[in-house]
Subunit: 165 residues, 2 copies
């Protein structure tokens, strides 16, 4: 999957499964339906991740911000996520899922900043900055010197401040 979703060939798939291509078309109408199925699968996985993320909500603000700052630039799934976001450009289903993911993360960060003491506008803007930077890092993380964990926290503190606003 990390080499891009365009590399999924139904011929190869059937070879690997030891069935003929005709068999494939009993289960799926066409390759697009397969893709949608894969997409749905990914959305489920992502929902679990999100449910995990939401548990962060119960943590005290300071600790919550700390945790979020690490999650945002987590490189564990960088390659896969870049491939998914690429896929979103051509598949509406995936695009929807990615948009919802982005929005939920944004809301998560924003509400944390609200709890931290920022006003509505301020919280929205700063949350946007952080989320966009995280997404940018997912895409271009290899093009610029990778910041250390400590530097990321320094950046985070820069945007969020040292103490409640």
């Amino acid at each position: 999957m990390s080499d891009g979703v365009a590399e999924v060939k139904i011929t190869r798939l059937c070879e690997q499964l030891g069935v003929t291509k005709g068999s494939f078309y009993w289960h799926f109408a066409d390759i697009d339906e397969l893709m949608t199925a894969i997409a749905d699968r990914w959305v489920e996985t992502q929902n679990e991740v999100l449910r995990g993320l939401m548990q962060v909500e119960s943590m005290p603000v300071a600790e919550r911000l700390q945790t979020i700052s690490e999650l945002l630039v987590e490189h564990r799934t960088r390659t896969v996520e870049a491939a998914i976001r690429e896929w979103a450009r051509t598949n509406a289903r995936v695009a929807d899922a990615v948009r919802e993911l982005d929005q939920r993360i944004f809301d998560l960060v924003r509400s944390a900043l609200l709890d931290w003491g920022f006003g509505q506008d301020d919280a929205r803007l700063r949350a946007g900055l952080l989320v966009y930077a995280g997404i940018g890092f997912v895409h271009a993380g290899n093009n610029l010197p990778t910041p250390t964990r400590a530097e990321i926290q320094a950046l985070f503190r820069l945007v969020v401040g040292d103490e409640p606003a």
Copy 2:
């Protein structure tokens, strides 16, 4: 081009040009060579843009930061740029070009921040934050409420400060 580089079919190309596919293979070894040619073309265009960007260097710091803040989130070429960055995932030539572009922009911002009065580390981190946010915006700009020009400047001031450091 904005619908993704995977949609470039040599059959379609030859139809549009009114020649046979055989003719295509006189000019190019294979489809990859065509892609490389297109990539090189884009790199040239990008180099012109960069030369333009470099002229910013001669502006006074305050004005320079102002201009950069607008360039970073310029949505003029958002779709195309997203397609290019997607292409970079599978084409080494394009990947190199994008990396160089990112680095030059990063350097531009960083040196502006140095002139503005930040120390080495501080300038590097803040420049990274801004550049990543700009790239993230290119990719996910439609998923979250688009900030206004004024809000972008507010964000910029947040990272850069109101007066020289």
